[in-house]
């Protein structure tokens, strides 16, 4: 294991300053970082432990929305009564993620920044080609085993799936990431790979996530997170959908709809085409199913993952209809 120095940050400013060192990496719960260090992907020179900064783990929910400190544990947010009432999809995305042990260790900030589970990314010794790890080296996944790779947002340089669940729920409800003084929408925070898959988010050197803010909305209050996978727990999504629904006073007209997909795209994938097609229409199984197919517009399958293209729209439809009491 490569030797590194260890620094404990006393404040967010302290952490940001230390993180500006070349070779420095922030350590929160460590459940992603230690794993990546063991498989030789993360090789920090300096670990900046932010886990002891006080005040960064608060969860506050009020009429305007929720603010979640970057160090709040996944389990704490998943179990938070206010979150479960105002943002069920967010709480459910966390309670269905990873395992109980990991949720008790892992933080919200670290969760957003978890890296892809692409097996080629995680095995540098056997697969030197990986543009995400080593720009310009190629992509070992293309032509390999691609059952869990993305069908949306891919490029010729990289087809890795963004694996997290929470970010999918956040992107559906217009949440924003606070980077100290600066705030950026989650939808803009994650970057599709394009020609630069090594650059995954809009976080600059010396910046850290301090909080996540989610505005309250009727759609967020009536929301759900559906996650499909072979193993019933402790597995990443084959496909997931975060959906929120607001019906008009007639109880049948769709006033607001939020749809985002996970497990199928290179970034948390907001499906505005589905939302736009259905907003203002009557909630009906047939139209919902037809519109849900728009969720995978432009999808490109690899050798082993075509099923995701069939699966994703079915999740969207099921989620919308079950929120509307029709499934």
């Amino acid at each position: 294991m490569k030797a590194f120095t260890y620094q404990r940050a006393g404040s967010a400013e302290d952490a940001a300053r230390l993180a500006a060192h070349p070779g420095a990496m922030l350590l929160a719960g460590g459940t992603t970082l230690l794993d990546l260090a063991k498989c030789g992907v993360a090789e920090p020179d300096m670990l900046v432990d932010i886990g002891h900064i006080s005040g960064l783990d608060a969860i506050a929910v009020d009429a305007g929305g929720a603010t979640i400190g970057a160090l709040a544990k996944m389990s704490a947010v998943a179990d938070h009564a206010g979150m479960r009432a105002a943002f069920p999809a967010v709480a459910e995305s966390l309670s269905q993620a990873a395992s109980a042990q990991l949720r008790n260790m892992a933080t919200i900030g670290g969760n957003l920044l978890q890296r892809t589970r692409c097996p080629y990314f995680r095995d540098p010794a056997a697969f030197p080609a990986c543009n995400k790890r080593d720009p310009g080296s190629g992509c070992a996944a293309i032509g390999g085993v691609t059952r869990n790779h993305a069908v949306l947002g891919t490029s010729e340089a990289c087809i890795a799936t963004y694996p997290g669940d929470l970010a999918v729920a956040l992107v559906a409800f217009d949440a924003a990431v606070r980077l100290g003084g600066r705030t950026i929408a989650v939808e803009e925070f994650f970057l599709v790979p394009g020609d630069t898959p090594a650059r995954e988010h809009a976080i600059g050197p010396g910046e850290m996530i301090t909080a996540v803010a989610i505005p309250a909305s009727p759609a967020a209050r009536r929301s759900t997170f559906l996650k499909v996978r072979d193993r019933q727990s402790y597995e990443f999504a084959a496909a997931s959908a975060a959906v929120g629904l607001e019906l008009g006073p007639d109880g049948r007209t769709i006033r607001d709809l939020r749809v985002a997909l996970g497990g199928v795209a290179t970034v948390p994938w907001r499906c505005r085409a589905v939302e736009d097609a259905l907003k203002g229409t009557l909630l009906e199984p047939e139209s919902v199913r037809a519109a849900s197919r728009l969720a995978v517009e432009g999808a490109v399958a690899q050798a082993d993952n075509a099923h995701k293209i069939d699966l994703a729209p079915r999740l969207v439809a099921r989620a919308i209809l079950s929120l509307g009491g029709l499934a």
Binding site: M1, K2, A3, C39, G40, S99, R117, P119, Y120, D123, A125, A126, F127, G143, G144, V145, R147, V228, R229, D230, R231, Q232, S233, Y234, E235, A238, H307, D310, L311, R314, L315, A317, R318, A327
Partner: protein, 765 residues
């Protein structure tokens, strides 16, 4: 009163004695509290830490390893590469055959599979060794890779004529049969994935070697080390008191052990090697991938006329492992014409090995799926078709079954499950979006017999000790041997101490093949009865014994006390008697070897090879454990996700020495079967033969959430032919038949027949 004249049922507490009681595991608390010391936790002074470096190509050779940068890294003590002559000799295999063609080279230059060890780095700390290993510059010459059984370049392989089974004229009968079902079934590479990974600590003292390594067979593994290093067998001690799961992987020594022990000898310092979780997917082999093309011919009523099986399994290019796909096929049903053949295909993998119920498990997947397909083809109930083709005797060996309570298993399982309420048509049962399917399949595992040796000591404080080199890999050896001794000695269970897992202790066969319980209860019973008889003889004859003048000609030993049969004499505790007659202990060592093996060579062979094993049809009977699994699955109609909602399984395993432990073995096997059916598969990159899901995040095993309520039912009766105490073996049969039961249930739920495991959602979307 001896054990043998005690009337017995098959295992409920009403039996009265210690055997058959539902006792908890003696090692349970130690394990739960962390007090059990596993191999890599042994406190050994002055350890150096080794890191194994695996090949990253699938075939070819190591052209060059530049060690300069690694050598210069802090703390590095030793680096071994193919350039080093380790000076090792080949070891004898389980057939008692020892290769004579040159030295044993566990770090060869030629690469036969991805993950093969190419170097070992030893340093003062694990971190230093890990860093130095990273600095090795390894240059390969890559060769063409054959990644797996179904790869286009794998070829047909070579026939295994010795496995061909035939009676009647199967091809002709198949051609003439009014109903035929024919299909191809596939099972993938699967892995043991035991909670405790492999590894060892090797310590030399002069020319004596001690190895702490998780083991299912201490004597045989110690022999391998002795032969590699040219030592007399008694110079090697292999210690393994606790094992965190083996499932067949821990019965043998492997190359990494030889390399680590060689490093320890060179360094003159004990070496610890922890095989990392990813390395556990290539340092030794899992279950081989298989392919079976199976054809059943039957009458219009579904009465079998012919079975034709053409199978293939993979092995490595450097070793032979046969995953016997015809292991269960000829046993399950009466059929007048039968033909089975198998081919072996060499690919670039580590040599596969034994994984819980080898052969039987893939074999049952095909035959038990096919019989379900036949039931559908003729419109019969899957339970009814099994009764129509019930094998009244072993169709292959033409011998009577010793015991076969398959009818009872089917009947009691069906009753408990509610099978009679099943609607025949696929897709005919649902609950909202969930398609419900009910499936059934049966399983079998042979009774394998062998010999064992045990030492029993009755101590001055009235307690007793049982000592043998047999291992407890979690299945309950400690507990049932204490029960056996308690009952034979008449000393309470709580006062029996059991020592296991050390090659310096009396001989025992491998904890594999579901035979250790049957073998070792027999040996312990024999030794304990001899010890008890010696104690009673002393009590009757010793001048200082209070019983000497009672005129009794025998005595009763019960509850730790000795008394005369009529109850009119003194009652003395065992400890008190030993005190009175001035004995510190009574110690008896007994084995169950037949006369022809009572030689030093015979004993050594019995404890270190498989050559003294007797198969299920070695005597006048055909002896097997049996089971029937009933499964309810729920399949989401849109998502294809499969959940096992409930299971009922009925077992005939003869007498149960401890029903609580037997049930735990059955359930463990069933859970593993759920993994096999729905989750487990080694994913291989076809370009370089690498197993890419080589960790427990990506190689999926069932979690608690995947395991439903499992009800197990015991329908067995004591089988006097199978073992000394009447048990048949409980460890492996549980997994056999689970995968086809689930596949059959998936068919019933969805109308989709999936013949390739695991059945994942993409097969049903």
């Amino acid at each position: 009163m001896t054990l043998l004249d005690t009337p017995r049922k098959h295992g409920d507490a009403s039996d009265g004695g210690a055997i058959g009681a539902r006792l908890s595991r003696l090692d349970g608390k130690l394990k739960i509290t962390g007090a059990a010391t596993y191999a890599l936790e042994q406190p050994v002074d002055g350890l150096a830490y080794a890191v194994l470096v695996p090949a990253t190509i699938g075939a070819g050779r190591v052209a060059r390893i530049d060690v300069a940068a690694a050598k210069a890294a802090p703390g590095v003590r030793l680096i071994l590469t193919p350039d080093d002559d380790l000076g090792l000799q080949p070891a004898t295999d389980w057939n008692n055959v020892r290769a004579s063609d040159g030295p044993y080279v566990p770090l060869p230059r030629d690469i036969a599979y991805n993950g093969q060890p190419v170097a070992l780095v030893v340093a003062d700390s694990l971190e230093q060794a890990t860093e130095a290993a990273r600095r090795l510059a390894i240059a390969y010459e890559e060769g063409p890779v054959t990644p797996g059984l179904d790869s286009p370049n794998a070829g047909e392989g070579s026939p295994l004529d010795q496995l061909s089974v035939a009676w009647g004229d199967a091809e002709a009968a198949l051609a003439a049969a009014p109903v035929r079902v024919e299909a191809e079934y596939h099972t993938p590479r699967e892995y043991h994935a035991a909670m405790e990974p492999h590894g060892l600590i090797a310590r030399w003292e002069g020319d004596r070697l001690t190895v702490w390594e998780p083991s299912q067979w201490t004597h045989s593994m110690a022999r391998s080390y002795a032969e590699w290093f040219g030592l007399p067998p008694e110079n090697v001690r292999l210690v393994s008191p606790f094992v965190g799961g083996g499932f067949g992987s821990k019965g043998f020594s492997y190359g990494f052990g030889a390399i680590a022990a060689a490093a320890a000898r060179r360094l003159g310092r004990p070496v610890k090697l922890a095989v990392t979780r990813p390395q556990n997917f290539a340092a030794y082999g899992g279950r081989a991938a298989t392919r079976q093309s199976l054809a059943l011919g039957a009458t219009e009523d579904g009465v079998l006329q012919a079975i034709v099986l053409r199978g293939a399994s993979e092995t490595s290019t450097v070793g032979t492992w046969v995953e016997q796909v015809g292991a269960a096929t000829p046993l399950m049903y009466a059929v007048p014409n039968f033909s089975a053949r198998q081919r072996l295909v060499a690919v670039n993998t580590v040599t596969p090995g034994a994984l819980r119920a080898p052969g039987k498990t893939p074999s049952a997947f095909a035959i038990e799926s096919a019989i379900d397909e036949l039931a559908c083809a003729v419109g019969a109930d899957p339970l009814e078709i099994r009764l129509r083709n019930y094998a009244e005797e072993d169709p292959q060996a033409r011998k009577p079954w010793s015991t076969r309570r398959m009818r009872e298993a089917l009947a009691e399982g069906a009753e408990a499950f509610g099978w009679a309420r099943r609607s025949r048509e696929p897709r005919s049962m649902r609950d909202g979006h969930q398609l419900i399917g009910w499936g059934l399949a049966t399983g079998t595992f042979p009774v394998i017999r062998n010999y064992g040796e045990a030492l029993v000591r009755i101590l001055a404080d009235g307690s007793a000790e049982v000592v043998t080199g047999a291992t407890d890999i979690g299945q309950g050896t400690y507990t049932i041997l204490a029960q056996t001794a308690a009952e034979a000695l008449g000393i309470p269970f709580e006062r029996i101490d059991v020592r296991l897992g050390d090659s310096a202790l009396p001989g025992a066969p491998v904890a594999g093949g579901s035979k250790l319980a049957g073998v070792m209860t027999g040996a312990v019973q024999k030794a304990a009865i001899a010890a008890r008889d010696e104690l009673i003889a002393l009590a009757l004859n010793d001048p200082n014994s209070p019983f000497r003048d009672t005129g009794a000609n025998t005595l009763i030993l019960a509850d730790g006390r000795i008394s005369a049969p009529r109850g009119d004499g003194p009652v003395v505790s065992v400890g008190e008697l030993l005190g009175r007659i001035g004995r510190e202990r009574i110690e008896v060592r007994r084995d169950t070897l037949p006369d022809h093996l009572q030689t030093p060579e015979g004993r050594f062979r019995a404890w270190t090879t498989m050559t003294t094993v007797q198969g299920p049809t070695a005597g006048d009977y055909s002896m097997h454990s049996w089971c029937a699994h009933f499964v309810e699955v729920r399949v989401d109609e849109d998502f294809g996700t499969i959940r096992v909602a409930r299971m009922v399984s009925a077992f005939d395993c003869g007498r149960l020495y401890n029903p609580k432990l037997a049930e735990s073995q059955w359930k463990g096997g069933i859970i593993m079967g759920i993994g096999m059916a729905l989750l487990e598969e080694g994913l291989v990159d076809s370009r370089n033969g690498r197993v890419i899901n080589n960790n427990l995040g990506d190689y999926l095993l069932p979690t608690n959430a995947d395991v439903p309520d499992i009800r197990v039912i015991d329908v067995g009766i004591p089988d006097p032919h199978a073992s000394a105490l009447g048990g048949k073996g409980v460890g492996e049969v549980g997994i056999v038949g689970v995968a086809p039961a689930i596949a059959n249930a998936v068919f019933h739920a969805t109308g989709r027949r999936v013949r390739r495991l695991p059945i994942t959602l993409d097969a049903l979307v």
